[in-house]
Every structure is written in C-alpha cells, then in structure tokens.
Amino acid sequence: MSTSPDDLRGPSLFSPRRRPRKHREEGARGAIIAAISTVVVFGLIVWWVLSSEAWPEVQQQFFNPDHFVASWPDVLGGFWLNIQMFAVAEILILIFSLILAMIRSLRGPAFFPLRLLVIGYIDLIRGIPIILLVLLLGFGVPALQLPGVPNSELFWGVAALVISYSAYTAEVYRAGIESVHESQRMSGRSLGLTQIQALRYVTVPQAIRNVIPALLNGFVSLQKDVALVFVLGVRDAVREAQIYNARTFNYTAYVAAAILFLVASVPVARFTDWYTERVRRKRQSVGTV
C-alpha cells in the first residue's frame, strides 16, 4: 500500500484545516508611497469641495448637524424595520429559490409540468419591475379584503420582495447546480439514490459552495431594495426621512438614512470580496476542482 505523506497532497479544499499564512509584506517603501499619495489625493478633493462657493448651502441642506441629530431617532427606528424585513425576506428567499432551482433541475418527462411551471414563474417575475410588484401586492391584495388573507401592507410588501428575489436567486442556484460535474450526479445515482436524493446530498451541497459569492451579492442588493416598501406607507428609514423632510424642507434625514444603509451593506460587500478571494486562493493551491 502506498501512503503519500500529507504535506505532499496540499491542503484540503473542504476540510477545516488551515493552511499557513503566506508572507505578503509589500515592503515599507511601497506602503509609504501609497500613504502619501492617498493623503494628497483625498486632501485635494476635500479642499476643492470645501472651498467651493456652493458648499455652505450644500452643507446646510444635506449635512446639517442639528437636523441630523433631530431626525436620527426616527430614521434609526425606521431602519430597524428595514433590518427585520431584510432578515425575514432573505431567509424565505434562500429556501424558496433553492426549491425552485431543484425543481428546475429535475430530469425526465414526469417532471415536465413542474419544470414548465417554474420556468414560467421565473420568466414572468424577472420581467416585472420590483416596484410594480410591491405596489400590486402591497396595495392590491389588502384592497381585496379577502377572508383569511393578511391585510397588512408590510406583509405584502415583503412578500413582493420574496417573490421577485426568489426568481433571480433560483437562477443563481441553478447556475451552481449546473457547475457541478455530471459525473457527481451519475455516481450518486449509481449508488441507488433517487434524483431528489442525489440533488440534495450530492449536487446541491457542492453547488451552494460554488455560488456563495453570488448569493452574498444578492444579500447586498436586497438590503437596499427593502426600502422600496416605503411606497406603501410602511414607516421604514426612508419613509421616516421623507416625513422629516416634508416637515423641515431639509435633506439631512435622507443622508442619515443613506449612512445607515451604507453601514449595513459595506461590510457584506467587503466580506464577499474576502471570501471570493479566499476560495480562489484555495482552489489554486489544490490545483483541481
């Protein structure tokens, strides 16, 4: 029996074992040049903006500290609702779209009607602007006064987001499922697994790993799109900022809302980059897959 030593094999792509950190010192000289040029460039931009004639007016309208402090509690309270809507919608989207993608990946004539339904759903929903869906469901369904159906604009606003995003996310998952080599599915089936078992235990776990960056990208997008429900009168951060603006004719509250959205989305965007890079490095070091 030949047992090759572990260090010849390289790190595992899937085991949690960590590889030693690579040296990535760039050299002090490079760092100093980068620091100086950054300070100079940004300094010039700031000086140019602050010295312009229009700046006092801009500051008064958009960056007024008094208005910022005054509007902050309401906007922050509204933003909490945005976060809740995001969390609920995202979980439902991840589950619902995975089911859609799995149905679309089933083979054989017996599943044809199901596949047709899913393809129809995805095409239809992707062709409709989200804001239209939000308006249609958010105002339309409560107006019907159907018995046993929720009448809240908030509920239907979030439902519209879930319906719309699921269509897109299903396509992300499907791309991931198709990226897993056919031989994996075949070897699962050869063990006697059913189509659905092979998808669930063999293909999908690998597919999800392949599309995590794309899913995270969708996260960032949804974090902002939850603000669309403000058109229904739901008092989220944007609505609160609008109310403040209508009362004071000052736009600082909108900037406050924008800052909150940024604080939530920038870390996810950075994390996505970091994660993608990490996967890329691991793949290179393993050499296959």
Partner: protein
C-alpha cells in the same frame, strides 16, 4: 451455473452516432468478464447501459432473468444490486471518506448511522484504508481514492460489480493496489464486468475476455485463447499495438 446478466441485441447511439451496434453478452454467477478494446469502442457505454445510467435504444438487458430495461422496472432498485466504479473515482468531494461510504446505505437501504459506519469501517479496515476514515477525498492519492470508491460501491452489498477503466487515471505505481482489490473480490466469488486497458491483469483475472471493436463484440473467449491465438485480424492488430507499447 445460471446467467447473472444477459445482454441481448443492445443498440445505443449518442446524438446519431452509433456506439453499440448489436451487442450480446452473458455473464454467469461468479464469473469475471473483461471488456477490452481501444478507446471509444463502447466499453464504458456498455457498462453505463447495464447500470441504467444511460437509456438504451434497442435490445434487452436481463438481470437474474428480469428485463431491467422494461419501463415498469424501478432503476433505483436495479442499481442497488450492482456497484459501479468509474475511471475518475467520482468520490463526493464535500464529504469525508466515511460519509462517502455511508451515504448510500443510510439513504437507500435506510440503515442506521451506527450500522452503516460499522460496515464502512470494517470494509475500510479490510482494504487498508482505516486511517483515512475522516479524511476528505482531495487529501488522498489517486489509488486511495479509487479504493475508497470500490469500498463505497461494496458497502451497498452489490451482487454484481462493474469497473469502468478504474486504473486509467492512476499513476503507474498506484495501479497495482487497485487491481489487488479487484483480485480479492474475484477470490470471494464476486460477479464482475471489467472494462480495462490492463491486458496482463485481464489475462490473470478474467474467466472470459470480450474484444469490443466499433460497437460490436468481434471476439469472445477464454483469456488464454484471446491473448495467444486471436482469430480476428482486428483483434490481432489491437493486441500487437499493446505488445508494441510494452503493455503485455
């Protein structure tokens, strides 16, 4: 002896290209049949047809006397009776060696986790792989991966094993360990159909050798005859090329 597998007038084409023209094959209980022939002659396709991994165009395949190509037959039940090992190993990269092996027994045979793991461990132990039980496939050598693939198939307690050029992707020094496993299975009386380019191995292990050429069996017989006195000119040419390459 009763026939385990009977293939009758099998025809299979991919996108208009005929891969198997008119194939007949009988495999008896405990018999080891080696399929030889150049790449693209249809060896792999025949194995995939028998495992119902690809639909056939015409003909019949009988397993224990039952026509498994009948639309009323559940392919999952058929596949449970036979194990197949592929050229490219096809282990599940996101699972440990142990999970690779226990997945089938747990999900298909509804075996309990403890029972499935006990079976897996004793099989791994038998094939000298017990220290790899918690490793992921990409940390194993090709030979080790292929032996795990054999164990994964054996864990389903198959009555028939299909081997699809299982050493073709291996470095030469790793070939022997995988062939050794197949020899062990022969000693235990496993019925096997083996597509291979290892002629020396085929001569040793086979009860019957079938030379597949352009989708038909040109010549079938005991290895002593096929390798020493091939009748057909095509078989002679093929074997001469193997000898010239120093592989026989």
């Amino acid at each position: 002896m009763s026939a385990k597998v009977e293939v009758r007038s099998l025809v299979k084409s991919y996108e208009g290209k005929v891969v198997l023209r008119d194939v007949d094959l009988d495999v008896d209980q405990h018999e080891v049949v080696c399929l030889i022939g150049s790449s693209g002659s249809g060896k792999s396709t025949l194995l995939k047809c028998i495992n119902l991994l690809v639909p056939i165009d015409e003909g019949e395949i009988h397993l224990d006397g039952i026509d498994i190509t009948d639309p009323g037959v559940n392919p999952n039940t058929v596949r449970q009776k036979m194990g197949i090992v592929f050229q490219a190993f096809n282990l599940f990269p996101h699972m440990t060696v142990l999970s690779n092996i226990t997945l089938g027994p747990m999900k298909v045979h509804r075996m309990s986790r403890t029972e499935a793991e006990d079976t897996a461990r004793s099989l791994l132990d038998r094939f000298g792989l017990i220290d790899k039980v918690d490793e992921y496939p990409d940390r194993l050598s090709g030979g080790q991966q292929q032996r795990v693939a054999v164990v994964r198939a054996l864990a389903m307690r198959p009555e028939l094993m299909l081997f699809d050029e299982v050493t073709s992707a291996l470095d030469p020094e790793l070939v022997a360990e995988v062939l050794g496993v197949i020899r062990d299975l022969k000693d235990e009386g496993m019925t096997m159909i083996i597509a291979t380019h290892e002629m020396g191995f085929a001569r040793d292990v086979a009860d019957k050798v079938c030379f597949l050429d352009d989708g038909v069996f040109l010549e079938t017989g005991p290895p002593e005859r096929i390798f020493t006195q091939p009748k057909e000119p095509r078989t002679q040419q093929f074997l001469q090329r193997i000898v010239d390459a120093g592989r026989l």
